[in-house]
């Protein structure tokens, strides 16, 4: 089991193992002809291998090196992201918000788990968790501090609570000292967390990047 599964040992009425229930449901739906098992295999492969924060990192790096692309990206995120070949489910109308020396942006979905799927993949557990969802709007600076990001008092912090049809991606600031790096080297610096807005992009890749 994982740290995210907050099972209450006092709880007496624990339903049967979800793994068994999902297996039974899958068998039922296959028997009824509603789903094709190989289609499920293909979908799992998409989520595990075809989409993820590397897509978003490519978008960010392109914006850093190409001012015209950056302009299009900030004006119409969905279309500019589509130029690099990324679109799809849970990505309807992606809006890109830019961090600057004066403004920092942070993304949350307090009601559920909205996330820009085509560019970041599926959200991590902490993003979907009650602690992050409840605190990101009322105590965003505390949340950032907990993530190791100290924000100066004079910076304007904008929290985007994506409740409906718009999905958000943060365009982080390009770190100083990266002038010599090409687009792919820049993309390697861009982390999932920086595109959610809980961290900044560091000039050097650290082990276990995300």
């Amino acid at each position: 089991m994982t740290a995210s599964h907050d099972h209450d040992p006092e709880h007496q009425d624990v339903p049967s193992d979800p793994a068994l229930r999902v297996k039974a449901l899958e068998s039922l739906l296959v028997a009824k002809g509603i789903v094709d098992r190989t289609a499920l295999d293909a979908l799992v492969d998409v989520y595990e291998n075809k989409v993820g924060p590397r897509n978003g990192a490519r978008v960010v790096a392109r914006a850093w090196v190409d001012p015209d692309y950056k302009k299009r990206l900030l004006e119409s995120g969905t279309a500019a992201i589509g130029e690099l070949g990324y679109s799809g489910n849970q990505g309807a109308d992606i809006r890109v918000v830019e961090n600057t020396p004066q403004v920092h942006n942070l993304i949350v979905c307090t009601l559920c788990s909205c996330y820009p799927w085509p560019v970041l993949g599926l959200p991590p557990v902490w993003y979907k968790s009650a602690p992050y969802r409840s605190r990101a709007v009322i105590d965003p600076r505390g949340v950032l501090r907990e993530m190791g990001t100290e924000l100066p008092a004079d910076i304007e912090l904008r929290v985007w609570d994506s409740t409906a049809e718009q999905r958000y991606l943060v365009l982080p600031e390009r770190p100083a000292g990266t002038e010599q790096l090409d687009e792919s080297a820049l993309a390697a610096l861009v982390t999932r967390d920086a595109m959610i807005g809980v961290k900044k992009v560091m000039p050097e890749l650290k082990a276990g990047r995300r």
Binding site: A3, L25, V44, L111, V125, A130, I138, Q166
Partner: protein, 218 residues
């Protein structure tokens, strides 16, 4: 509804539990239920949206369940509401002899292709916009027992229209197959101090995407 899912601004939920890296799916069944949900809803139009059944989960259960357990609950409720499966079939795990109404399952190629299509909830119909950028508005004080995208923490609070996103399907009704009611969706900026009082940082703000029906002139 004023359920536990509407948790923006609550205290007492514990530490964030941040992990620098984690697998896409922590256990294989999570990937299966996520894929089952998308395969089913790409195959047949369901009469109920993803979120209403999740929001109907009693608070105690909601907080106990992992994220994908809630998805399991949701897809079962949606399929039952759409007459795709019966509760008896779910319990026994076997198709009833009278089982009907099964659509043709999506092929692997079609299932994957559906993932890369942008779902169309934007509507091109002409609807007059009641508000414009820069205008002061107030989020209405509504407390519907059904699904809504207006979080409790913003109700009754004043903000400024930052942008008109255009016309979208109104999820409060479309999630129940009760009509699309297409209307303007606006980005509304709320000052952190308006939402949380004078303790909040003076320049900070929360932006919410709100349907026109949620707003009134301030």
């Amino acid at each position: 509804m004023n359920g536990i899912h509407d948790m923006g601004g609550m205290h007492g939920m514990g530490p964030i539990g941040y992990l620098e890296t984690e697998p896409v799916f922590h256990e294989a069944w999570e990937g299966r239920i996520y894929s089952i949900s998308y395969a089913v809803q790409s195959t047949v139009k369901l009469r109920l949206g993803l979120r209403p059944p999740i929001e109907n989960i009693p608070a105690r259960e909601y907080l106990r369940m992992s994220y994908f357990e809630r998805w399991l609950t949701s897809i079962i409720e949606r399929m039952v509401a759409s007459d795709l499966v019966t509760r008896d079939e779910i319990e026994t795990g076997r198709p009833a002899t009278t089982s009907v109404n099964a659509p043709v399952a999506l092929s692997p190629a079609a299932a994957v292709a559906a993932q890369f299509k942008i779902p169309a909830t934007r509507r091109s119909v002409q609807v007059a916009a009641r508000f414009e950028s820069g205008q002061s508005v107030r989020a209405r004080n509504i407390n519907p027992v059904a699904h809504t995208r207006l979080p409790r923490y913003a109700r009754g609070k004043s903000g400024t229209i930052e942008r008109d996103h255009g016309v979208f399907v109104f999820l409060d009704t479309s999630a129940y197959s009760a009509g699309e009611n297409p209307q303007h969706l606006y980005s509304v900026r709320f000052a952190a101090r308006e939402l949380w009082g004078d303790e909040a940082a003076p320049h900070d703000a929360v932006y919410l995407d709100l349907f026109e029906d949620y707003l009134e002139p301030a």
